[in-house]
């Protein structure tokens, strides 16, 4: 039955029990990066869009052509409106995100570390987390008057909860054996938190930042649509009311680029801090 040498060509279906080749069945389920394809598909889509609008298959009042959007962007950049609205929104996101995630980190760590804070915090967080935070804006306006504060607080409250949950799970998920190891060397509690628990939670915290960035973007636009003079959201709303769809689409492009840039910053942070994984 067992032969040292493989004789002849395979394939020919022999009699039952004769020698036959084992068929390969491990193909597929193997994704490879294909960067070129992404760019080509993107370019084709834009080209089709351009053709469809210039041939008037689509009414440019409802959907302006990519070229028209670029022109709108250019004139916005030249007039200074782009920077004015963008910087206003960025400042709101910045403060809101800073307060929300700062407080979220502290509360998340406390809930991860101590039974008391967990028992108190968990039901509160669970109850308020699902509320769309934009629903709180009218309340914040009542409390704090119109102006920047209620918008920043709305964004902060939206950022706070995902950060709390991400931080809490990160701290809670720190391998017990690492904490025991720290204790077995008499490390002080603050050292254990700073040198063991925080680095171990960092992947989860950064993943939480990704979610809270998106929330911040959503909330800044919503808040500015409800009541603001400047900001990308206010700009979008005005453009819509005036049927200036090219400006409106320019605003959408700005938001897309903004979201991508924030995501890229996070990716850089992950590369810098999580290279050990």
């Amino acid at each position: 039955m067992l032969e040292d040498t493989v004789v002849g060509t395979a394939a020919a279906p022999a009699q039952p029990g004769g020698r036959r080749e084992v068929a390969f069945r491990g193909g597929g389920f193997d994704l490879k990066p294909k960067a070129m394809h992404s760019w080509i598909a993107f370019a084709i889509l834009i080209a089709l869009w351009q053709v469809a609008v210039s041939r008037r298959w689509i009414d440019p009042v409802f959907l302006p052509s990519p070229l028209a959007i670029c022109e709108a962007l250019w004139s916005l950049a030249r007039s200074g409106d782009l920077w004015l609205n963008l910087s206003t929104s960025l400042v709101r996101i910045g403060w809101g995100w800073l307060f929300g995630s700062g407080l979220g980190l502290v509360v998340g760590i406390a809930m991860g570390l101590w039974s008391m804070t967990r028992a108190v915090g968990m039901p509160l967080v669970s109850a308020i987390y699902p509320v769309p935070k934009i629903a709180l804006l009218p309340l914040f306006i009542l409390w704090m008057g119109i102006g920047e504060t209620p918008k920043i607080v709305t964004i902060a409250s939206g950022v706070f909860f995902p950060t709390v949950i991400a931080t809490f799970s990160g701290v809670d998920g720190t391998p017990r054996n690492l904490i025991r190891m720290g204790q077995s060397f008499n490390m002080p509690m603050l050292s254990i938190i700073w040198k063991i628990i925080m680095p171990s939670s960092l992947p989860g915290i950064l993943a939480g930042f990704r979610i809270s960035m998106a929330t911040a973007l959503l909330l800044v636009v919503s808040a500015e649509m409800i009541g603001a003079q400047y900001g990308v959201g206010a700009f979008l709303l005005t453009a819509g009311n005036l049927m200036q769809t090219d400006d409106l689409m320019a605003g959408v492009v700005i938001l897309s680029v903004l979201g991508l840039s924030l995501g890229a910053i996070l990716t850089m942070l992950e590369k810098a801090f999580l290279s050990w994984r």
Binding site: P175, N177, L178, M181, S184, F185, P188, S191, I196, W276
Partner: protein
């Protein structure tokens, strides 16, 4: 330094894990604790090292630790417990960082520990780049860096493959013969017991009680020699007969966690 343990009872709720364990670790001695899985060996070590609180009982140290000792009772863990974001040298330096040492002394201690475990070439590697055996060497270096009085070893080799285990055990023995640090060595492997231990404590299955304490009178240095094999084989048979029933009963038990 000597360790006197008197664990009258350790229980999780109604589940008794350890009962009436008295042990006395003499200076420079390696005491091996062997028993079927789930008999509370690791729990016992945790209690001795002050990581777990016994339900009833206490652990005592007696005698002075060496003057440069920073952490008398020092663990070596089964799963190595290395910080994956720190390099080898940084992991080894971790237990020194909260002590007041000059940076020169800190560096000297780390270098010394790395040299003694033959890790000096790998000081800047991350744990993920190392094999299991090398990772446990880092665990050993981290324990040596504090100049321990007693090493508490919780199945330090059982996460490794058989070949690596044998190699590392020989290194371990070399190191121990040079340093003469007393140690408690938890294992379920006869071979490791018989190679390393001065005394072997056999625990019964849960609730873990002392079944017998066996003295291995041949010096570790001579145990690889042919003349020792017959005696060691006899001891091995005796250990196996002590544990066999317990192990097979323990294996059939339903674990209620």
């Amino acid at each position: 330094m000597e360790i006197i343990a008197d664990v009258k009872l350790h229980a999780y709720g109604t589940l008794t894990v350890l009962q009436d364990i008295k042990l006395h670790l003499r200076p420079g001695e390696i005491l091996s604790v062997i028993g079927p899985s789930g008999c509370g060996k690791s729990t016992l070590l945790g209690i001795i090292g002050g990581i777990l609180k016994p339900t009833d009982g206490a652990i005592y140290m007696e005698g002075e630790a060496p003057p440069d000792c920073l952490n008398p009772l020092t663990f070596i863990f089964q799963d190595f417990a290395l910080l994956p974001w720190r390099t080898v040298a940084q992991n080894v330096a971790l237990p020194l960082e909260h002590h007041k040492l000059s940076s020169a002394e800190r560096k000297a201690r780390v270098m010394d520990a790395l040299q003694r475990t033959k890790l000096d070439e790998f000081a800047d590697a991350l744990p993920k780049q190392l094999s299991g055996g090398m990772r446990q060497r880092v665990g050993i270096a981290r324990a040596l860096v504090v100049r321990p009085a007693v090493l508490l070893m919780d199945e330090p080799l059982s996460a490794l493959d058989a070949q690596t285990r044998d190699l590392l055990m020989e290194d371990f023995l070399d190191l121990w013969l040079r340093e003469r640090v007393a140690g408690i060595y938890i294992t379920h492997n006869f071979h490791e017991c018989l190679r390393l231990a001065d005394r072997i404590m056999v625990l019964s299955r849960r609730p873990g009680k002392i079944k017998e304490i066996i003295e291995v009178r041949i010096p570790q240095r001579e145990r690889a020699q042919k003349s020792a094999q017959a005696v060691l084989a006899d001891l091995g048979d005796r250990l196996w007969s002590l544990i066999r029933d317990e192990a097979s009963k323990a294996e059939r038990e339903v674990v209620d966690a």
